[in-house]
Amino acid sequence: MVGKMYIKDILKPENVEIIESVTDWKDAIIKGTRKLIEGGFITHEYTEAIIANALKFNAYFVLCPGIALLHASSNDGVNETQLSLTYVKEPFRFEGKEEDVNLLIGMAASEGNDHMEAIKQIAIILSDNENMKKALNPQTAEELYDLFTSIDIL
C-alpha cells in the first residue's frame, strides 16, 4: 500500500475483539498482538520485543488510564503495517504502572512514517471524552470497530 494510511486502511473488523480477561500483563501483550500474528502482519518476535521493552522500561506504551498502544520497533518483526483492537473486560495492570488497562491497541508499523495519519486519528479520537467512554466500555466488537473507523479523513 502506498500513500497515507488511515485507520480504516489498516484495521480489519476481524482484528477487533472483546475478551473476558487476561492472566497477567504478559498474557495481555500476547493476546493483544495475536490477531496481528495470525494475519501475518508481525512475527512472534515482535510480541517478544514488546514484552522485553516492558521489562526494561516499564509499560511506556500505556497512553493514559485504560489504554495501551502495544508496539515495538519496525525491525523487531513487522511484515506489514496494521492495527488490532483487543478489549479486555476485566481490567488489569502492567507491572510498575498504577493505571487499570482495558483496551489494547496492537500496532505494527513498518519502516517509515506510513502509520502517522492513523496515529493522528487515534490521538484525535481519544481526545474526545465521549469517544473515550465508548472505547473503555464497548458493548460489541462492531461498536469498537466503528468508533475507530468512522472518523472523518483529516
Binding site: F57, Y60, F61, L63, C64, H71, A72, S73, S127
Partner: protein
C-alpha cells in the same frame, strides 16, 4: 538556560508513544504561543547529548534520557490539559526557554 528551539519526544520504539506525544505537544505549543519550536519524535537509541533543547517524554523513560538534555515527564500522553500544565510550568520556571 538557552531558548528552546527544538523539543524531542522519546520512547523506546520511537514510533508509537513518542509520536502520539509529539502530536499533542505540538497542539499544546500552539496554545502556549510557541509555534517557533520544532517538535520531533525519536527512539531511545537515537537520543544523545544535546539532541534537543528540551525532552518531553513519558514518565517511564524519564530516567533513561534526563542526562541528555533538560527533560520533563508526562504521565498521560493523551491528556492535553496535563501536557499543557507541565510545559507551561517549565516555561514559567525557565523564562529564557
Amino acid at each position: 538556560m538557552a531558548k528552546v528551539n527544538t523539543i524531542m519526544c522519546i520512547c523506546p520504539a520511537g514510533l508509537g508513544s513518542s509520536l502520539i506525544l509529539s502530536m499533542n505537544v505540538e497542539k499544546v505549543l500552539e496554545k502556549l504561543g510557541r509555534t517557533d519550536i520544532v517538535v520531533k519524535h525519536s527512539s531511545l537509541g537515537d537520543t544523545y547529548n544535546g539532541c534537543a533543547d528540551l525532552l518531553v517524554v513519558s514518565a517511564d523513560v524519564y530516567d533513561q534520557v534526563k542526562q541528555y538534555a533538560p527533560t520533563v515527564a508526562i504521565h498521560n500522553l493523551i491528556n492535553k490539559d496535563h501536557i499543557y500544565e507541565v510545559l507551561k510550568q517549565y516555561f514559567d520556571e525557565n523564562p529564557d526557554a
